[in-house]
C-alpha cells in the first residue's frame, strides 16, 4: 500500500515544484510583454533611437554568430571526432566564458583589445577601433556566446554515427568530401539550432557590451539606459521589444528540434 502511495505523493510534489518554477520564469516575462509589448511595437514607429538599437543589435549579433560558426565549426568537429592530447584542456577553455561574470569578460576583453593594449594599438594602426564601436559589440557578443555554439555543434557532430562517414569513404570520398556530403547535412539541423542559440544569446548580452561599447547602444544597453535615466515606465517598452526579438529564435529552435526528433526516429 505504502509502495503505491509513495510514487503518487512524489508525483504531486514534483508537479507543484515544477509549477512554481514555471510561474517564476514566466510571470515576469509575461507581465513585461503584457504591459509593454504593444507600446514597444508602437514606439518602434516614432523612436529612432530604439529602431537604430534594434538594427545594431540584429546586425552585430548576426556578424558575431557568423564568425562563431566559421571559427567554431572546425573546433566542434575536432572535439567530437578526434582523441588528442590536450582535448580536455581545450574543452575547458571553451567553457570558460560561460562561467565567468559577463562584466568580468568585458573587462578582460578591454585589457586585450583596449587602446592601451598591444593588440588594440595594432588594430588602431590598421584603422580598426574596437572600444566604443560596433566592433567592440561584436567582440563582446562573440566572447560570451561562441562557446554555446561550439558546445551545441560538438553534440550535433557526435550524434552523427561515424559509420556513415566510413561508408562514404569506402565509396570514394576523401575526408573533406565526406564532411561536405555526409557529416554537414546530417549535423545540419543541430548546427543551425546551435547558431540560433548563439544568436539569441548575443542579442541578449549586456554585461560585456556595456564595458566595451556603451555607445552606440544595443537594445539591452538602451533598456538599461532608459531605466537609469527615465525610470521603469520608459524602460518597459524597450525591454518588451527585446523579449519579443528573443522569442523569434526560440520559436525557430522549437520547430528545428521537433523536426530533428522526427528525423532521428528512422536513422540507420
Amino acid at each position: 500500500m505504502t509502495g503505491k502511495r509513495l510514487p503518487a505523493v512524489s508525483a504531486i510534489l514534483s508537479a507543484i515544484a515544477a509549477s512554481l518554477l514555471l510561474l517564476f520564469l514566466v510571470a515576469p516575462i509575461g507581465e513585461l510583454v503584457v504591459q509593454g509589448g504593444a507600446a514597444g511595437v508602437r514606439q518602434l514607429g516614432r523612436d529612432a533611437e530604439l529602431r537604430a538599437a534594434l538594427v545594431l543589435t540584429g546586425a552585430t549579433a548576426t556578424i558575431a554568430t557568423l564568425l562563431g560558426v566559421v571559427t567554431g565549426t572546425p573546433v566542434a568537429y575536432l572535439l567530437a571526432r578526434r582523441r588528442f592530447r590536450g582535448r580536455a584542456v581545450l574543452s575547458a577553455i571553451l567553457d570558460l566564458p560561460l562561467v565567468i561574470p559577463h562584466p568580468v569578460a568585458g573587462i578582460a576583453l578591454l585589457l586585450v583589445l583596449g587602446r592601451e593594449s598591444m593588440v588594440g594599438q595594432g588594430l588602431l594602426l590598421a584603422g580598426l577601433r574596437v572600444v566604443g564601436t560596433p566592433i567592440g559589440i561584436v567582440c563582446a557578443m562573440l566572447f560570451v556566446s561562441a562557446p554555446l555554439f561550439v558546445s551545441g555543434a560538438r553534440e550535433a557532430f557526435a550524434r552523427v554515427d561515424p559509420r556513415y562517414e566510413a561508408v562514404a569513404r569506402t565509396l570514394g570520398d576523401d575526408g573533406w568530401r565526406v564532411f561536405r556530403r555526409i557529416t554537414l547535412p546530417l549535423a545540419g539541423r543541430g548546427l543551425l539550432a546551435s547558431a540560433v542559440v548563439m544568436w539569441a544569446r548575443a542579442v541578449s548580452e549586456f554585461g560585456a557590451i556595456v564595458i566595451l561599447t556603451y555607445n552606440p547602444k544595443t537594445v539591452s544597453v538602451l533598456s538599461f539606459d532608459r531605466f537609469t535615466s527615465y525610470g521603469l515606465s520608459e524602460a518597459i517598452p524597450v525591454a518588451a521589444v527585446l523579449v519579443l526579438i528573443a522569442l523569434v529564435p526560440l520559436a525557430l529552435l522549437r520547430a528545428l528540434r521537433g523536426e530533428r526528433e522526427l528525423h532521428a526516429g528512422g536513422m540507420q
Binding site: L171, G172, M267
Partner: protein, 370 residues
C-alpha cells in the same frame, strides 16, 4: 587477394591481435565468430577505416596499410546498412558509382547502377525515402550501393540477417553470381554456419580478436583445431579422453606398415570412459585429447549392421528432439551420450523411441582428434 599477416588493430578498448589469414583472388571468405569477437573490426581494418597498429595487410599484392579507404576500391556493407538518410534510395545507390576511385567513368557508373538495380529488383524503391524502408530493403540497397561502384573487394557484415528466408536465398544467389561473374573477392561476416558452408571458399574463425582457425570451411567444420572450436561450430559429440598409436600393437585391421605417402597419418585408438573409438590421422600435440564426431556422421540402426565402418556401439536411446523434418537422437552408450542427426522420417520408420535399444555406427575417418 587479401593477405593479413600478424595484423593488429585497436578500437577503443578492443584489440585485434596478430590476425593472419588469406583470401585468394576471386574467392569467397567467411568470417565466423561470436558477438564481440572482432568480426566488424576486422572488416573495418581491411577497408581502411581503422589503421592497423602492427603486422601487414596486402591487397592485390600491394601493402595497403597507409592507403586511405577512398583509394582502396573496397565496398563495405554494414549489418544495418547505414544508408544516408538525407538522400533517396537512388542517390544512395549512385553515391559511389563513377567516383574517382571506382573503376568506371560517368557512363559506366550509370550502367553499374542500372545493373545492380535490375539484379536486386530495386526499381520500385528508387524514389523512396530511405527512412521508410524495411530492414531487409535497407540491406538490399546497401549491397547495391557498394556494388554500384564496381569494387575489387566486397566486405559484407551479416548482410542477409534482416531479409526474409525467400529473399535471403535469392539475394545470396545474386551476390554469389556477381562474385563469380565479376571475379570479385568477398569477405563476409556471418554467424550462420550453414551460410558459411554454402558460400565460403575460406572460413576464418575469430574469437576475442584472434584467429582460432582458418581454411576451407569443410576442413574447419570437420577438423576443428580445438574442442572449443568444435563446440562453437556446433559439433554435438566432443569427448575428452586419451589416444594411443595402434601400429605398436599391430592391429588386426591394418596389414603391415602404412605406405610411405601416408607417413604422418596413423591408426589410433581413443578411449573416453568405457567408450573406445578407432580413428586415423595425426597425433594431436598436448596432454588432453578430444574426439569430435559431427552428428551428421553418426548412423543409427536397430540391428548391428555389417559395414566398412570401424566404430559400432550398442546403446539405448536417451532422448529424441524433433526439429521439423530433422531429429536429434541421443544414444546412451554405457553412460556416454552419442548424438546423431536423423530425418524425422528415419526416426519414424526405425521405430525409435526413448529407452529402445539401437546401434550407432560411424567411420574411423569421421572421428577427428584435437
Amino acid at each position: 587477394m587479401i593477405i593479413a599477416e600478424q595484423l593488429s588493430a585497436r578500437l577503443g578498448g578492443f584489440r585485434l591481435e596478430q590476425v593472419s589469414f588469406e583470401v585468394p583472388e576471386g574467392s569467397y571468405g567467411v568470417v565466423i565468430g561470436p558477438a564481440g569477437s572482432g568480426k566488424t573490426t576486422l572488416l573495418e581494418t581491411v577497408a581502411g577505416i581503422i589503421t592497423p597498429t602492427g603486422g601487414t595487410l596486402r591487397i592485390g599484392g600491394h601493402d595497403v596499410r597507409t592507403l586511405p579507404p577512398e583509394r582502396r576500391r573496397i565496398g563495405l556493407v554494414y549489418q544495418h546498412g547505414y544508408l544516408f538518410p538525407h538522400l533517396s534510395v537512388e542517390e544512395n545507390i549512385a553515391y559511389g558509382a563513377g567516383a574517382a576511385g571506382a573503376d568506371s567513368g560517368a557512363d559506366s557508373g550509370a550502367d553499374a547502377v542500372a545493373e545492380v538495380v535490375a539484379r536486386f529488383e530495386l526499381a520500385p524503391l528508387l524514389r523512396r525515402d530511405v527512412v521508410s524502408l524495411s530492414g531487409g530493403e535497407r540491406q538490399l540497397v546497401a549491397i547495391a550501393r557498394a556494388l554500384a561502384m564496381r569494387p575489387r573487394i566486397l566486405l559484407l557484415d551479416e548482410p542477409f540477417s534482416a531479409l526474409d528466408p525467400a529473399r535471403r536465398a535469392r539475394t545470396r544467389r545474386e551476390v554469389r553470381i556477381i562474385h563469380r561473374e565479376w571475379q570479385l573477392t568477398v569477405l563476409q561476416v556471418t554467424h550462420d554456419f550453414t551460410e558459411a558452408g554454402m558460400l565460403g571458399d575460406v572460413a576464418i574463425l575469430l574469437d576475442k580478436g584472434r584467429v582460432l582457425q582458418s581454411g576451407r570451411p569443410e576442413e574447419v567444420f570437420r577438423r576443428p583445431a580445438s574442442p572449443y572450436i568444435a563446440e562453437f561450430l556446433g559439433a554435438e559429440n566432443v569427448l575428452s579422453g586419451t589416444a594411443r598409436l595402434l601400429e605398436d600393437v599391430a592391429p588386426d585391421w591394418i596389414d603391415g606398415a602404412p605406405p610411405l605417402e601416408a607417413d604422418g597419418h596413423h591408426a589410433l585408438e581413443f578411449s573416453s570412459g568405457s567408450l573406445t573409438l578407432y580413428t586415423v590421422g595425426a597425433v594431436p600435440s598436448g596432454g588432453q585429447v578430444y574426439a569430435v564426431i559431427r552428428a551428421e556422421e553418426v548412423v543409427i540402426s536397430r540391428t548391428p549392421q555389417a559395414s566398412s565402418a570401424r566404430n559400432l556401439f550398442r546403446g539405448h536411446i536417451r532422448e529424441i528432439t524433433r526439429l521439423g523434418a530433422y531429429a536429434r537422437v541421443t544414444l546412451d552408450v554405457d553412460g556416454v551420450p552419442l548424438v546423431a542427426a536423423l530425418t524425422a522420417r528415419s526416426v519414424h520408420e526405425l521405430g525409435l523411441a526413448e529407452g529402445v535399444e539401437a546401434f550407432a555406427t560411424f567411420k574411423a575417418m569421421a572421428v577427428h582428434l584435437c
